[in-house]
Symmetry: C2
Subunit: 217 residues, 2 copies
Amino acid sequence: MDHVAGLLSMREAQPFSVYAARRVIDALGANPIFSILQPQLVPLVELQLDKRQEVSGAQIDLGLELLPFSVPGKIALYLENKHAPNFGTQAGDTLGFKITNTKSGKFFYYIPGCAQFNQSLSDRLHEAPLVFFDGTLFHENEMIDQGLIGKTGSRMGHMNIDGPDGSLKAFEKLNVVRKIYIHLNNSNPALNDFSREHAIVTAAGWEVAKDGLEIEL
Amino acid sequence: MDHVAGLLSMREAQPFSVYAARRVIDALGANPIFSILQPQLVPLVELQLDKRQEVSGAQIDLGLELLPFSVPGKIALYLENKHAPNFGTQAGDTLGFKITNTKSGKFFYYIPGCAQFNQSLSDRLHEAPLVFFDGTLFHENEMIDQGLIGKTGSRMGHMNIDGPDGSLKAFEKLNVVRKIYIHLNNSNPALNDFSREHAIVTAAGWEVAKDGLEIEL
């Protein structure tokens, strides 16, 4: 949702490319409002799971390669089917990416949503130079406790930072060189530099992404 | 488009109300992505042309009344039918509003899009205390001249500020107390306080809206 809503801000005649899984391309097709993205300016390129894809923007090679892989997740809220197991989620509904500079070979991982950790993710991320990871909520119940909406982190398809199944714990032994929380919900206390939770994540070697963050690999 | 795209930023559980013409409500219904606006939190209220409507937000009376009226315009880009006259535009596709404080009776007009001026608009706006008006482009061809996109102001359904059919000319004899250009495209040179065009609009008694503008009536 966060990713497709932004497409409407890119209109009306800006050339760029959309790389997405078939399920997302179909969702765009089911919403005629996205026809403001003119096909001759904005190609929709279908990503295949576990298949490398070189990326270009405005027909210019960006010198980058995407490797999309499936991570545990949840179907987008606006596509949920409340009668289906896990709301109709299918493999490929939530993707992580390995993004590689084709010239230097340097790479990083981008995983803005992840419902739970597993062995395949551990193996993949082990000793990675840089990982951007789902930091939606710190505490499973923080939105409820703050009187926001009645949803837990797990109901939204995001693992929390905290807890025995949380990302702090999951990354403990992965030896990732640099790890940065992204996709933080505004309820997440780690956004506040002076909070106890911010101290906890930084003590564990994490950074919290900020607007304007620049990184050199 | 500008107005409905913003709805996706208001998600997921924020209570507010949407007031819109039937054509816009139908367009929202045709795009399942807008189902993220939960009906129990976000009522869609159909506006009737030329009929007063009291407005509330999150079930709280806002002390305001809307009077929607049809102005010459164009159908939204994503609904255009290239085989129909004026791309399938119908009356009510472009609305202006008179917005009244129900307690004080003070009011203003809000007309962010208008394809051409007519006698009915002149009569309505004559001696109004405040009008926000379509300032999309200054010059009919400015987007083409600046190498942006190949569209004129009139093709987009907006009258220009300049020219014999422009808004500067149209407002000349209306004795509107305060008139403010809104909905300026980023190509509009009047956005630059030091431009010739900015000097022209201010000399004609217009203001150009800015982020954070506050007005007391």
